[in-house]
């Protein structure tokens, strides 16, 4: 059963005829070519498919495309500003938080949603915020560091 659906992704509106059985993850990748969002477990455990909907981190494999229509969706592709990496992205590069890179987009989107609500977090709060994003490479230390550095950079940006 197909239906015309309208999506607002990273501020851009798309309209497509989409089957009810497609998840948001499938539509992002297969329909709109936004390959930054990754399919990990496809079951809502690993967080590799995390996107931000209306400010909250969400597993895009757990949402039907039809339920994401009409919502404000943000993916990793939407973070850069005029070709410059977002402070969170830059911090991940700088801290060595990216090894194979598979968890990275989901991890960064979770961090973005978190830091937007909690700009001055403790280390424990950061660890709790990312417990829905699994990484098999880093052991998480560089990721937590990156988020701390990004938080500081974003707070500094706010002051300027």
């Amino acid at each position: 059963m197909k239906q015309i659906m309208r999506f607002t992704i990273n501020g851009v509106t798309y309209e497509e005829n989409i089957d009810h059985r497609r998840t948001l993850l499938e539509v992002l990748r297969d329909q709109f070519g936004l390959l930054g969002t990754h399919k990990g477990c496809d079951e809502g455990h690993c967080g590799a498919c995390t996107v931000i909907i209306d400010g909250d981190p969400v597993n895009s494999c757990q949402i039907l495309a039809v339920d994401a229509a009409g919502k404000n969706i943000k993916t990793i592709e939407g973070l850069e500003r005029d070709g410059v990496l977002h402070p969170i992205q830059q911090a991940f590069v700088d801290s060595g938080a990216i090894q194979c890179g598979f968890c990275t987009p989901g991890m960064i989107m979770t961090a973005k949603a978190f830091l937007d609500k909690n700009p001055n977090p403790t280390t424990d709060e950061i660890k709790y915020a990312i417990h829905g994003n699994l990484c098999r490479c880093t052991g998480y230390k560089q990721i937590v560091d990156a988020i701390e550095w990004a938080a500081a950079a974003m707070r500094e940006e706010e002051l300027r």
Binding site: G47, N59, I63, G132
Partner: protein, 298 residues
């Protein structure tokens, strides 16, 4: 990948062919269910049902998508009860002032459930309908005497949460019924839920213990409910243990006796994550911890 029986359950597929229906009211949702019976299932948060469909353990033809029924997303006080609507996500519940003021145990429990992403999307009532033995919201709700309001084509009924999960993955709903609300009586006591996990976060409970206690003016225990999760086919109340607390001043020997009784009432199994013996022992340990936590007034 098939097993010997040619059964592909266990492997993930893309979702099967479905038609989503978008009722605008609860009544409309109920008529859809009545019309299609077992080939229609409710979709609220979707974080349980979509996985079941990907594994082909559940293959409804119609998904009755109630996300768009805005009137089902609420947390409100009505008379002397707190009402939580079917579309209230975990985040919505955890951030609600009413839940934090009236039932801090429930707000605390939400933060132990799943992951931030799931909590943005999944609903507490949907999770109860998924009916797993380890459902974390069940022991606290049972300890609070909560009920679930269910609507069918002919009638409405209320089911105690402890009677709602009838066996693993099976809840008390008929095929033409929809669970619309959790109701919790507002009461003066204090509760604590402890979830014992293998991991620090984001894991199923190995053992879940919820205790609710109320005291009279002389600090004698006037009310006690102990609800256990993940240690029987369904979450349940350890009533023998409860009786050992009521009418008593809770000193360490009284608490220990009740905790031992709770442990004996549990019927856990050995599985890949733990043994029955360990789980039984942890029921005792966590019951003591939960009671002491309440007594300390944290």
């Amino acid at each position: 990948m098939c097993n010997a029986a040619g059964n592909t359950a266990g492997r993930l597929h893309r979702l099967p062919e479905i038609e989503c229906l978008f009722p605008k009211t609860v009544e409309e949702a109920v008529s859809v269910l009545e019309k299609h019976k077992d080939s229609a299932k409710i979709l609220a948060g979707g974080t349980d049902i979509l996985n079941k469909m990907k594994r082909r353990t559940l293959v409804p033809k119609y998904l009755v998508n109630i996300k768009s029924i805005e009137s089902l997303k609420y947390v409100k006080v009505v008379d002397n009860e707190l009402h939580i609507g079917a579309n209230a996500t975990y985040n919505f519940i955890q951030q609600s002032k009413e839940v934090n003021d009236l039932f801090p145990m429930l707000a605390e429990t939400v933060l132990m459930i799943a992951t931030p992403q799931i909590r943005s999307t999944g609903t507490m009532l949907g999770n109860l309908c998924n009916a797993v033995p380890s459902a974390d919201s069940a022991p606290p709700l049972i300890a609070l005497g909560a009920k679930i309001k269910v609507k069918g084509p002919e009638k409405e009924r209320e089911i105690m949460v402890e009677d709602f999960i009838t066996s693993p993955h099976i809840c008390a709903l008929e095929p033409d019924e929809i669970a619309v609300e959790i109701t919790i009586p507002i009461q003066a006591g204090r509760g604590k839920y402890i979830k014992h996990m293998l991991r620090a976060e984001g894991d199923l409970a190995l053992v879940g213990v919820a205790v609710y206690l109320n005291f009279d003016a002389n600090s004698v225990c006037s009310e006690a409910k102990i609800a256990l999760g993940a240690v029987a086919p369904t979450p349940f109340r350890a009533r023998k243990a409860e009786k050992l607390l009521i009418g008593k001043t809770l000193d360490s020997s009284v608490i220990e006796a009740a905790a031992c009784a709770a442990s004996e009432e549990a019927r856990p199994i050995d599985d890949i994550r733990s043994t029955a013996e360990y789980r039984s022992e942890m029921v005792k340990v966590l019951t003591i911890r939960a009671i002491n936590n309440i007594l300390k007034g944290e």
